[in-house]
Subunit: 182 residues, 2 copies
């Protein structure tokens, strides 16, 4: 409401510019042919980047997750965006997601003249919610015949976490997943 009032009561050009920007965003962005993240070209900047390790594929739920992981700077591979998680309670199966496309990526392919090698590791980076865990387990189960390593992002205490206020499941993961310092 405040934005709407602001747009119609101030300089008209602001509204026109915003309308055009939304219009352009809608007509120019599409899904990457390889990872299904948002892009303005056929194959997104991450997939086509020569420095990224295309043998390691990080599986996430939505494009915003790609941006979050990229911001963390902790990942040098490529992505696969599912556009949904398994959620039987919401009647959400895998039909509307890019799950089949994930399995088709594993043997490797050539897209737009770019070579994508056989996938050697799937990093399952769906959220640690019930749906995220279920989807990760489904993928791990589905590709068990394939020669591909399956890893799951670490669960534990978030940065700045105090043990006293952590929930039991998180603490249990933090203890069982402890890492060797030396």
């Amino acid at each position: 409401m405040r934005i709407a009032y602001h747009l119609v009561t101030t300089d008209e050009r602001i509204g026109t510019t915003l309308a055009r920007a939304i219009d352009e965003a809608l007509s120019n962005t599409a899904l990457c042919q390889v990872c299904f993240s948002l892009t303005e070209v056929e194959v997104c900047q991450i997939c086509s980047h020569p420095g990224r390790d295309r043998r390691v594929v990080c599986v996430v739920e939505k494009p915003a997750d790609v941006i979050a992981i990229e911001r963390s700077g902790g990942f040098g591979g490529v992505y696969h965006v599912l556009h949904g998680l398994w959620s039987p309670l919401k009647g959400m199966g895998f039909e509307k997601t890019k799950m089949a496309e994930l399995f088709r990526r594993i043997p490797g392919a050539e897209v737009s003249g770019m070579g994508f090698p056989r996938v050697e590791e799937l990093v399952l980076a769906t959220g640690t919610t019930v749906e995220g865990d279920a989807t990760a387990l489904y993928i791990a189960h589905s590709v068990k015949e394939e020669n591909v390593a399956i890893t799951r992002i670490a669960q534990g205490l978030p940065k700045g976490g105090e043990l006293e206020y952590a929930d039991e499941v998180t603490l249990s993961h933090a203890i069982s997943g402890r890492r060797t310092l030396r």
Copy 2:
């Protein structure tokens, strides 16, 4: 304020009972001679429990952390409560903590007729705050001459966590600490 009004306006016995309970708690609880957690006896129930693995010692900041980890049910060893973390900004060194007592525990000892074997693993379970991390690093550095494994609780996404809302450090830990599912 509300509690105070309640105590003086209702049944007098409630206040008397509470006063006595606080008094008893103060005079009956002491620190365990082995792990420095709260106890009503010389050696606490966890340290004296025959089913706990006394070779694995989980190092925490305060007694409440012991209760939190016990509630999670994910740990079968024993504890060491530091009663403080390294915090130079607050003028807090290790003098007032039970750090020296931790190092003295490593070779093993006999306390109150109970045998405590040589410590084989220190699980550093201080919080993932700056002070918690600094204290963990200090311990890891201090015992590097000793033949003891040093592990740190896992950092990553808490239970129910969505990638989109996780901070960068947490996400970076979640990716770098990913675990093999198979």
